[in-house]
């Protein structure tokens, strides 16, 4: 069988059956690979065994086979990466030649790095891209026919690998991820979220491998066929692993495996093969059964192997069985190409959100426009403040978070990167990258772990040229504003024309039309009273004539009017009735949320009205006075008493509940609230005291500080413990916030500015964060440099900000070394700066040995030391 002409892979993939090879580790272990030995070293030390491995699969009939490079990256092979990859490709070529299978494709095999990406791990996204890029460049130059990224269990790492492949070669890029029996990646993502992201990135095929046997994979495969539009690839293990004498063994034999693969093929996938535990015999039988060239399988042999069926993965009574031999195997499985799904989906690391099924809320609060405190937070790089805005909106019911961090005097691309990566480590809501700076847009889209929403493109040529190439490269659902060089059309006709223009531009750039959402533009009715009607008509026509989805910045409609919330809420209802898909709004606005929830309930979009009931079961009757003098805010307050609003802060610690419990007749005093760590009641008490006319400073000095001191002393005596200390600190902070509002015009002084950082190599920062809370409480301003911070960064910031005290934290003996190095560099550059150290392994002796000025065993000790430094 000598086949010479190798067609381009993409002329075959998705148009006819293609087969992957099977396990590598399994075969190499039989050839003597030791557990723990690096398989890629065999490319150099035992080339004949690798050629033999490939020949086995080529003779079995596979079309795509993997180079022995799964674990080849510069972390594992810092010195001989090039030799190992070049040898791998050359051995694959040799095998192809020996077997006369010149039609087969050599896949440059890429597996995970083994490291977790930032911010939870310590590998930066760009470093991951670099590591993969090295492999891709070497492998492509050596003559691989495609890149196969496989066994990925983290969507972020998948994204890094796909980007590296697309940026460094022109070969087809295929990727398979590992899902567990709940249909999730190890890092949490679902089939839906992974498909959305990968198709956005433009992969040529995607699917699932490893982790499970074919039987357990069936629910995953089913979901893939429902969500993916590109060719689907399925490479299972030979069943679930079992351990025998320290070795992993797989029990599903070739016949049974092929039976299952036949069933999987019939579900509408386009390429199949095997992973761990599968052998050339498994692949040969699979090719025969699926392509239909082989003899009928032996009757029933091994099909009921209980080890291969995990009943828990299926609903009761639905445990599937492999196709029995009574169906004639030689007939094969008819090939079906995949179909386009035309779904509009954005995704995060955890979940996919589909646009168009029911109206969605895009939280608009992460935006400095008109917000003094937010601007201040951006200037001071107070990431917590910004992240807290995100959490608050999630709590209030947002489905997507808009992220706008544009401020003329800051480095917007850098800030976008920090906020996007910060948000995606604490919330699972998809993000909408909102900026007019193309560089910031690209940073945000690139670093985003999922398929983002992009705000925005418009009908101007310049905007189209800036935004669409990025959307085509990184994937995203783009908001298309219906305005162009001539401004905003006054008529629905004009806006529909621009919408069409934007759709056509999407076609040109290869972005599917479903990835464009049209912004019909809400303009205030205070300047043009016909404005709302034009917007509503545009919404209707995009839905009915263009069959597209829409978005609106809803509250613009009422600009310049009193009681804006009334107009906003009613306009929102009207817009949703006209087909609005996404409302960009403040989910903390009770009236608009009420309109939203009522609309869902009335439109049969809230099953059993459960969402509505949950939100308003405890609500007081709404009383709107007929006089019209009741400000909109007051009218809405009654609604807020339901669960729907955002009582207190997110992640409410229950102090609210405790407060109402303690109330029983009277509210706790400010001091009492702080001592008991009740933040909501502390804020209420502070407000009540201020209303009696007591000067703010008296309140701080005579009530707040003494309460805080009592707690601090109790902690030092061992009568009060860490959680209480922190809860009291938080209650005090809540009270401070209230007091600060009354001091807004006066300049607020801090006692001093302190840098806190967890040293390089250390990613645990809880201790540092505790110290931060306490120092802030005692009036210090903290420059929190985060964790895993390089000595150079600490020195640089100390110098630039002229800092007198630096606090360093290290958790492990291994990272005390970086603490010592940081101190050494600080001493050389800034001898006058004091250094306080702490952390789990730290002791006075250690601190002395590495040259710190002070060892602080706990947070209060740091406070006391700060007081001596800033005396």
């Amino acid at each position: 069988m000598v086949k010479k002409n190798r067609k381009p892979l993409l002329e075959r993939l998705g148009r006819e059956w293609l087969f992957f090879d099977g396990g590598t580790g399994t075969i190499l272990q039989e050839k003597g690979l030791q557990g723990g030995e690096l398989p890629e070293t065999w490319n150099l030390s035992r080339p004949e065994d690798i050629i033999d491995l490939h020949c086995g699969y080529l003779e079995a009939g596979c079309d795509i086979f993997n180079t022995n490079t799964f674990g080849a990256n510069a972390l594992k092979y810092p010195h001989d990466l090039r030799e190992i990859i070049e040898a791998a490709v050359s051995l694959a070529k040799e095998a192809r030649q020996r077997t006369g299978r010149e039609d087969a494709y050599i896949a440059l095999d890429i597996g995970p790095t083994g490291r977790l990406l930032k911010p939870l791990g310590d590998l930066s996204f760009e470093r991951a891209v670099d590591l993969f890029a090295q492999v891709v460049r070497i492998g492509a130059a050596a003559g691989a026919d495609l890149v196969l990224i496989e066994t990925m269990s983290d969507s972020y790492e998948s994204k890094a690998a796909v980007l590296a492949a697309k940026e460094n070669c022109s070969l087809p890029v295929l990727i398979t991820n590992v899902f567990d029996k709940n249909g999730r990646l190890l890092t949490g993502g679902t089939v839906d979220s992974v498909v959305a992201m990968l198709e956005g990135l433009g992969v040529d095929g995607l699917g699932v491998n490893c982790g499970m046997g074919p039987a357990q994979m069936i629910p995953i495969v089913k979901r893939l066929t429902e969500t993916a539009s590109v060719p689907i690839l399925v490479n299972p293990n030979a069943g679930l692993p079992r351990t025998e004498n320290g070795r992993t063994v797989y029990d599903v034999d070739p016949e049974t495996f092929a039976g299952w693969m036949k069933q999987i093929a019939a579900m509408g996938v386009q390429a199949v093969g095997g992973c761990c535990g599968t052998t050339p015999a498994h692949i040969r039988r699979t090719v025969e059964c699926v392509r239909g060239t082989g003899p009928a399988a032996q009757s029933g042999a091994g099909f009921a192997d209980p080890l291969s069926v995990d009943a828990a993965a299926f609903p009761a009574g639905e445990t599937p069985r492999p196709d029995q031999a009574d169906s004639p195997l030689e007939a094969g499985v008819p090939f079906r190409p995949n179909t386009k799904k035309h779904r509009t989906v954005v995704s995060s690391w955890l979940q996919a959100v589909e646009i168009g099924k029911k109206p969605l809320i895009i939280g608009e609060r992460i935006n400095p426009t008109g917000k003094k405190k937010f601007k201040e937070a951006l200037r001071k790089k107070d990431l917590n403040y910004i992240l807290d805005e995100g959490l608050g909106q999630e709590q209030s019911g947002a489905h997507i978070l808009d992220v706008n961090v544009g401020l003329p005097e800051i480095d917007e691309p850098q800030m976008m990167e920090e906020v996007v990566t910060g948000l995606q480590s604490i919330t699972s809501l998809p993000l909408q990258i909102d900026t007019s700076d193309p560089e910031a847009l690209e940073r945000g889209m690139r670093l985003y772990n999922g398929k983002p929403m992009v705000n925005s493109v418009n009908g101007k040529q310049e905007s189209i040229e800036a935004v669409f190439p990025l959307a085509a490269k990184y994937g995203g659902v783009v908001v298309g504003l219906t305005l162009d060089e001539d401004g905003i059309p006054q008529t629905a006709d004009g806006r529909i024309e621009i919408a069409k223009k934007i759709y056509e531009a999407a076609d040109r750039y290869g972005l599917p039309r479903e990835d464009v959402v049209i912004d019909a533009l809400a303009m205030t009715i205070s300047s043009d009273t016909g404005g709302a009607l034009v917007t509503l008509e545009t919404l209707r026509r995009v839905r009915d004539e263009l069959h597209g989805h829409t978005v609106l910045g809803v509250s613009n409609i009422s600009f310049g009017l009193p009681a804006r919330a009334i107009i906003n809420a009613h306009f929102l209802t009207m817009a949703m009735q006209m087909g609005l898909s996404c409302a960009i709004m403040n989910p903390g606005n009770a009236e608009m949320m009420a309109a939203y929830r009522a609309f869902l309930a009335l439109s049969d979009l809230d099953p059993q009205c459960m969402g509505f009931i949950e939100a308003y079961a405890d609500a007081q009757p709404v009383m709107v006075t007929a006089s019209g003098k009741d400000p909109a805010g007051e009218a809405g307050k009654a609604i807020e008493t339901g669960k729907a609003g955002r009582p207190g802060k997110p992640d409410q610690t229950g102090s609210g509940a405790a407060a109402s419990g303690a109330a029983g007749g009277r509210s706790p005093s400010l001091g009492e609230s702080i001592l008991r760590g009740m933040d909501q009641s502390a804020a209420d008490a502070a407000r009540a005291r201020l209303e009696t006319g007591i000067p703010a400073l008296d309140l701080i000095n005579n009530e707040l500080i003494p309460a805080l001191d009592t707690v601090g002393k109790g902690f030092e005596k061992g009568t009060i413990f860490l959680p209480q200390l922190l809860m009291s600190a938080e209650a005090a902070r809540a009270a401070f916030e209230v007091v600060k509002e009354t001091l807004q015009d006066k300049k607020q002084e801090t006692k001093g500015r302190i840098i806190l950082a967890t040293v390089k190599g250390d990613i645990h920062d809880i201790g540092k964060n505790i110290v931060k809370v306490m120092l802030e409480n005692y009036g210090y301003e903290i420059l929190d440099l985060g964790r895993d911070v390089a000595p150079e960064t600490i020195v640089e910031t100390t110098r630039r900000e002229d800092i007198r005290l630096v606090g360093l934290s290290a958790l492990m003996t291994t990272t005390v070394v970086s603490m010592e190095e940081t101190i050494r560099q600080l001493r050389a550059a800034r001898p006058e700066t004091r250094i306080v150290v702490g952390g789990a392994v730290m002791t006075q002796e250690y601190a002395d040995a590495i040259g710190a000025d002070c060892y602080a065993p706990d947070a209060m000790a740091t406070v006391h030391y700060a007081e001596t430094v800033f005396q």
Partner: protein
């Protein structure tokens, strides 16, 4: 659902013999509920022979201070060569071991990160509760191992992790490779050999024909035991 002894959580929070007040108690309960919903417990364990042990002193102690090599005999397990006095004392009389990896997944790390933005008190309690939970999860896996061992007529020794005593942390890399921790249970190592997810455990569990008082975990090998606020024995 992993059953967690709340006393363990209080101990991690530094309460020693005291009980937290009502507010903290309530917060602990809420944190535990959130953790139960967020964890994805996974484990992997495999049995390996101890291939050779050199120069083990019967008492497991150095005969004289100069004979450091004798005090730290060489153990060969699954291709690892380990020179550790404390591990060889732990494995005295054992013919094989289980290598074990357990994790709660990234859920707890994400919850702590989230709480750190708004309420450090909550972050601290989540941290302590997750620490108690990974111990409880590892204990339950350890019990499975004890049952499997019993079926072979073997008894387990207390589990022993890289970083305990003089068993170097560097062996985390070998554990990662041998047990394929990243692929099997999603556990990765940072450059400085910390495990992520942070609520993860790796350990050696020795198997012997002879029964010894087996505890699931204890303080005996920790060098901090004397003045540690978290000591088990002090609170027990």
């Amino acid at each position: 659902m992993i059953k967690v002894d709340k006393k363990e959580i209080f101990r991690y929070l530094g309460y020693r013999k005291n009980l937290p007040d009502e507010e903290v108690m309530g917060l602990v309960d809420r944190c535990l509920a959130d953790l139960q919903a967020a964890v994805t417990p996974r484990c992997i364990f495999r049995q390996y022979p101890i291939e050779s042990v050199y120069a083990i002193d019967p008492a497991g102690r150095p005969k004289d201070q100069g004979a450091k090599e004798a005090a730290r005999p060489l153990l060969r397990i699954a291709g690892m060569e380990i020179r550790s006095g404390s591990l060889s004392r732990n494995l005295r009389g054992c013919e094989s071991v289980y290598l074990l990896g357990t994790t709660l997944g990234l859920g707890p790390d994400r919850l702590v990160a989230r709480a750190s933005v708004t309420h450090m008190s909550r972050a601290v309690i989540l941290q302590a509760a997750a620490a108690a939970m990974i111990e409880a999860w590892t204990d339950s896996v350890n019990r499975q191992i004890m049952e499997q061992a019993a079926a072979q007529g073997l008894y387990c020794r207390p589990r022993f992790s890289p970083g305990y005593g003089d068993f170097p942390l560097e062996y985390q890399q070998d554990f990662a490779r041998i047990l394929q921790l990243q692929k099997e249970i999603g556990v990765t190592l940072t450059e400085s050999l910390l495990m992520m997810p942070s609520k993860s455990v790796t350990a050696v569990i020795g198997l012997s024909r002879e029964k010894e008082g087996c505890v699931l975990h204890g303080c005996e090998e920790c060098t901090k035991a004397e003045d540690c606020a978290f000591s088990v024995s002090e609170d027990a």
